[in-house]
Assembly symmetry: C2
Homo-oligomer: 310 residues x 2
């Protein structure tokens, strides 16, 4: 299949080259899939602690999931239908010894060995929160007050090759999930949007909160996007990084009763359950910090260093 | 394709059920793909620090990679040919709007939509060290003394559905890589095997160091396995967990000049370069600790708590 990435802007190409030069980013040969050096990771981990400590003060429970998710999960929640261009599924080999030898020979010559591969029960996880809803539902009716889960930094994947250093195929998303009464969930989302704005301000990042929509596929997706915008289900904190337009670095999403309905989340007394999630793009925030303050964290403003370096 | 997992032994089934009951492990519906609770993750992160601090004292540089790897990497290093049964490749959608609608409808009904998927440039990373060799090679000739890289805990994937809680499809591997002169690499591997034995002893785990071989595929693989054993290229630290046989929890692998040759690793003076890697199975070690000391880390022996809990 075509794996072409759009030509980067000069700003994107220069920032990526500078990140590689500084030892923060290591190329793998596939655009949007990078390794990272020690300083980059140190900032990312400190940022994670900053968010997790705030969540823990509000009683969040930690729960960590792998970068793959059962295929049935993304079939049930509509991801495959709404985002076919971003979804990636895992295929594996299930043939004879003779087939394995053929596949191996074609692979060694970098030919097309896709016909030897069959679809498995797994897909790449495209959003950190997806496994949480069925896991919480499996534990039975919610306790009074609902649930607050901290996923920490989780590897997610979206199939969109790009040379914009802030648009990755594989990246770390720190998601927080709130499951509870509609008014609690709505208030929680807005409190975290304000917290995000404050945090970005403390980090010296010029951010603004904007109403947004997901990149639903095709013409049918235009209606989904328009509804999402009209109902103000998605806000984003956008920050200038390396693109002409500022880049979304955090999102604040209200799902109404969508996930509660799909996975059977309920209170014992039958009162309504809504859900919301907050997603911080860890890699994008680290990149925004490096764009704003330079490539040497030890020379960042001291108040920023205190938060995410020292 | 068939995704059947072998029937677990009573010991495996009971230990998995106890881990779920204690909130350490969360099922996703696919065997070998689990979420983890806060206490489990706390032990895993402390264990990671223990190993990384020892590596840092010897001058290791940290480098962190995502859970996917370019397909060409596993075609070049022979993984697809040698381990077709474990390899997983990423497929994506590249069709028309009409195709997307068809795929979405079949997916919503949990039917077979594999014919709409094409192979991408990426595969699941099956061993944490694989991206390191090309990344180090890209930086040019090695400095005198070679290189020592700490990958920290990295998500890896092997396609082998199982109900043994210690045999995962997605799991965290903490790998250390040494690239240098043959005698340095050989000495480094044996020093870490001793360090691993000592560390497992300090953690109260009954372990032994054994000569081992990789699970190469098919009858052709028998010869590869026999060679690997005869040349003593792989040692494992095995620890009793939930299976009749003890489980490999760390491996110490000498690659001779295999990866140096494939990726063009070299010293400026042309003297020979060999590589070795040490892999600690983070999830297996946490499980071994829970098997040995019980499911409540706060009640583990105080010397063990000091190392991986407090």
């Amino acid at each position: 299949m075509s794996e072409e990435a759009p030509t980067p802007t000069t700003g994107q190409a220069e920032f990526l080259a500078a990140l590689i030069d500084a030892g923060h980013v290591f190329e793998t040969g596939v655009p949007g899939v990078y390794g990272h050096g020690a300083a980059y990771e140190r900032v990312r981990v400190k940022l994670e602690s900053l968010i997790s400590e705030a969540a823990a003060e509000d009683g969040a429970a930690k729960l960590k999931f792998p970068p793959v998710v059962p295929r049935v999960n993304l079939e049930d929640n509509g991801y495959v239908a709404k985002f076919p261009q971003l979804a990636a599924s895992l295929f594996g080999f299930d043939g004879s010894e003779a087939d394995a030898i053929k596949q191996g020979r074609i692979a060694a010559a970098h030919g097309d060995w896709s016909s030897f591969q069959g679809q498995t029960d797994l897909m790449m996880l495209p959003a950190a929160c997806y496994p949480v809803y069925p896991a919480v539902a499996a534990a039975g009716p919610l306790a009074a007050g609902g649930a607050f889960i901290d996923m920490e930094g989780t590897w997610v994947f979206r199939h969109e090759p790009s040379y914009d250093p802030a648009r990755r195929q594989a990246f770390r998303q720190h998601e927080l999930v709130r499951i509870g009464a509609p008014e609690d969930v709505v208030a929680w989302r807005m409190a975290w949007a304000q917290r995000g704005l404050d945090m970005f301000g403390d980090l010296g990042l010029a951010s603004s909160l904007e109403s947004a929509n997901d990149p639903f596929f095709g013409r049918q997706g235009l209606l989904l996007a328009a509804n999402q915008s009209a109902e103000q289900l998605k806000f984003e904190l956008v920050v200038p990084i390396a693109s002409p337009e500022p880049t979304a670095c955090a999102s604040f999403n209200y799902h109404l009763d969508q996930f509660a309905g799909i996975y059977g989340l309920s209170f014992a007394d039958g009162s309504p359950v809504h859900t919301a999630c907050v997603g911080f793009g860890q890699d994008r925030i680290v990149l925004a910090l490096m764009k704003a303050h330079g490539l040497e964290p030890e020379r960042w403003p001291s108040n920023v260093r205190t938060l995410v370096w020292d």
